[in-house]
């Protein structure tokens, strides 16, 4: 696999770099060289200790290439993807099929701001893309390097200073086809001073064949900008996602990221924040509902590089069947980051003897005037609460679902759209085998 991936890069390098300056060419090349040297991380690697990539590496993946001829044998139509959209919110829509932009299914804009695709921005917005591409990912692990070398397309957003997007952006990444598919997607989000944007993102397989999407996102937030990003992970049971998102925040900017993971075989989320100027605030919420053989992994990292920044983190996990959860929360408070506020919470419910969660807070604090806290819990459903609900006439299964929803509440409470909330409740209800419309 490693060799095939490397070959696909060296074979197409001239395509990848045709539109780029030598600096970007060098960045891609260095990334591929690092991937070749390191290969995919194994469980001996501390960051991948509980997340064995070999589980998904064994498939015989076809590699989607941005430069081969488009395969139009089985065109995807709107009706095929409609059910995966959040339909009742008016949105910009950027759709990718097997890593390639689908203009037909998308609704982009260049009116006052850019919501389009990285594939077109290489040339069109070279002056914006080049200084940013790969800047936040240089030191990251092998899967990210692989992406830096091989990725071509994904969401591109640029919002100028003091502009608020008039509606949210839905970024949809679909995988299709009869054979297993390995896809790289890459997004770049540039928010100017005081800019505001909202993104709803979903990776979705349209086939029962295995798929693996390796996604990397770089987000640059100007002073006083706002970003709300909702990641919906409700993929097919054959689908895997490894995603590394890095967000750099300037003075007084506010970022909120929700990651809602209910379905999919293998989910590895890396979410990094770099708070580089005073007053920046990052909030992270996660909800993992896993059963069967699912694996849901959250690795988060916050670098407090400047004073007076705040990070708040609240991840909830419910694990049933033989599912595994991983939570690793790193908070680094650097020497100059006085008056940092950093809070981290990870709470888990284990519903079966064969399910497990490995949770690890990791705080490194080099400033002395800070407020940092972390907590993690692992428990079962509260029998007292269950009896209370049942004694009021609520069936055992509904009572369990109600308690799980209540447990999960914090993680989804801040999602503002009622229709998105309703969709989440439906998804959670489906997962728990309960019609939630009857319960809440």
């Amino acid at each position: 696999m490693k060799e095939r991936l490397a070959a696909s890069y060296w074979l197409h390098e001239s395509h990848y770099t045709a539109l780029s300056s030598p600096t970007v060419t060098e960045r891609r090349r260095a990334a591929m060289e690092r991937f070749e040297a390191e290969g995919f991380p194994t469980v001996r690697h501390e960051d991948w200790k509980y997340t064995p990539l070999k589980k998904i590496l064994k498939e015989d993946y076809a590699l989607s290439s941005p430069f081969s001829a488009q395969d139009d044998a089985e065109p995807i139509e709107f009706k095929d993807i409609k059910r995966y959209l959040v339909n009742d919110i008016d949105c910009y829509r950027v759709v990718f099929i097997n890593g390639r932009y689908s203009a037909w299914l998308s609704e982009t804009t260049h009116q006052g701001f850019d919501v389009c695709t990285l594939g077109s921005a290489w040339k069109k917005y070279k002056d914006q893309v080049e200084p940013h591409f790969g800047r936040l990912t240089e030191t990251l692990g092998a899967t990210v390097q692989l992406n830096t070398a091989l990725a071509w397309d994904g969401l591109y957003v640029r919002v100028p200073d003091h502009v608020t997007l008039d509606k949210p952006i839905q970024a949809l990444y679909f995988t299709t086809g009869d054979q297993p598919m390995f896809t790289q997607t890459r997004s770049l989000i540039l928010l100017g001073e005081g800019a505001k944007a909202e993104i709803i993102e979903r990776h979705q397989s349209l086939t029962s064949s295995a798929s693996w999407t390796n996604a990397v996102d770089e987000v640059f937030m100007g002073a006083q900008s706002h970003l709300h990003w909702v990641k919906l992970q409700h993929d097919e049971a054959s689908a895997a996602l490894t995603q590394h998102s890095v967000i750099e925040q300037k003075r007084d900017s506010h970022a909120t990221v929700h990651t809602i993971s209910t379905d999919g075989k293998f989910l590895r989320n890396n979410l990094d924040f770099k708070l580089t100027e005073p007053g920046a605030e990052s909030r992270m919420f996660g909800l993992s509902l896993a059963d069967g053989q699912q694996l849901v992994d959250h690795h988060t990292r916050v670098d407090h590089l400047a004073p007076h920044c705040t990070s708040r983190e609240n991840y909830k996990g419910i694990f049933d069947g033989q599912s595994n959860g991983v939570f690793n929360g790193q908070i680094h408070v650097h020497v100059d980051a006085q008056k940092t506020l950093a809070f981290q919470e990870n709470d888990n419910l284990i519903l079966s003897e064969k399910a497990s969660i490995d949770t690890k807070p990791q705080l490194e604090i080099f400033a002395d005037d800070v407020k940092c806290s972390h907590g993690c819990t692992v428990g079962q459903l509260d029998e007292d609460a269950l009896f209370y609900l049942r004694a009021r006439g609520i069936q055992r299964k509904e009572a369990q679902a109600l308690l799980m929803l209540a447990f999960a509440h914090d993680a989804v409470a801040d999602i503002q759209h009622p229709s998105l909330q309703a969709k989440l409740h439906r998804l959670i209800g489906n997962k728990l085998g309960v019609d939630m419309s009857a319960v809440v």
């Binding site: 509260d382 029998e383 007292d384 609460a385 009896f387 209370y388 609900l389 049942r390 004694a391 009021r392 006439g393 609520i394 069936q395 055992r396 509904e398 009572a399 109600l402 308690l403 929803l405 209540a406 447990f407 999960a408 509440h409 914090d410 409470a413 009857a438 319960v439 809440v440």
Partner: protein, 249 residues
């Protein structure tokens, strides 16, 4: 309505109830009193169907049928209600959603139509007035951040909404100031009818000034050792439980 016959129950092999006999008829209010650890809360939990207890002997019959094999929710559907001593906090579930769910689950189980939204709201308003509750209550998370008094009032509110035939009030008076006690008692009295019955578990006589019982029973070491009318409660208030303990030893 309720018939408890020679009921023995234990937890983890430890016998708690050691042969309870009690009959409660429609329209009656029974008070169960007794010192700490005498088995009062166990009795109420066992009637409501808590599964941590093992019934080793005897029977509980409701309207003539044994309910020992029924799940807590099935007992609730039949009209058994337990007001908890320590109501559980459930963040993220509003009082109104919870009550709606509870009522409609019971209706579903009885094969009745669910209550429509406007009748539900009307009924809620009516019962809230009865219990002098604030309207904002409905949209709060169930018991979360409620004071002791609010929790108990919320229990009685749920009872008023569910209209049980048998209501068991487990130390509903504990943690209530005198005004809250009066309001709760008024709520209970307003719900009294010839068709339903109450079992009021309490340490103290003061609740019984407001909810006047037809019968008073003293539970001691897992048995009902004395029964009488409301004057027994006054006796206990005056003399404490020591004379009962002495009588038993």
């Amino acid at each position: 309505m309720l018939e408890i016959v020679n009921l023995h129950a234990s937890v983890d092999g430890q016998p708690i109830l050691k042969g309870i006999n009690l009959r409660i008829g429609a329209g009656e209010v029974h008070a169960i009193m007794g010192p700490n650890g005498s088995g009062k809360s166990t009795l109420s939990n066992v009637i409501a169907g808590r599964e941590d207890y093992e019934i080793t002997e005897g029977d509980i019959r409701f309207h003539g049928e044994s309910i020992l094999e029924l799940a807590p929710e099935e007992r609730a559907h039949l009209g058994v209600f337990l007001s908890f001593q320590y109501p559980v906090e459930i963040p993220g579930v509003t009082v109104s959603n919870f009550i709606k769910t509870a009522i409609n689950e019971s209706k579903k189980a009885r094969g009745e139509e669910p209550l429509d939204a406007s009748s539900m709201l009307k009924k809620m308003r009516e019962k809230m007035d009865l219990l002098e509750m604030d309207k904002g209550f409905l949209s709060r998370s169930l018991n979360e951040g409620f004071s002791g008094g609010e929790k108990k009032r919320n229990e009685i509110f749920q009872m008023a909404m569910l209209e049980p035939t048998l209501a068991i009030l487990d130390e509903t008076d504990s943690g209530l100031d005198i005004d809250a006690l009066r309001i709760v008692a008024n709520g209970v009295n307003a719900l009294r009818s010839p068709q339903n019955a109450f079992m009021v578990i309490t340490h103290y006589q003061r609740l019984l000034d407001h909810i006047v019982p037809d019968y008073v029973h003293v539970l001691f070491k897992g048995k009902i050792v004395k029964s009488g009318d409301k004057s027994l409660a006054l006796d206990l208030e005056e003399r404490g439980y020591d004379w009962i303990k002495k009588e038993q030893e």
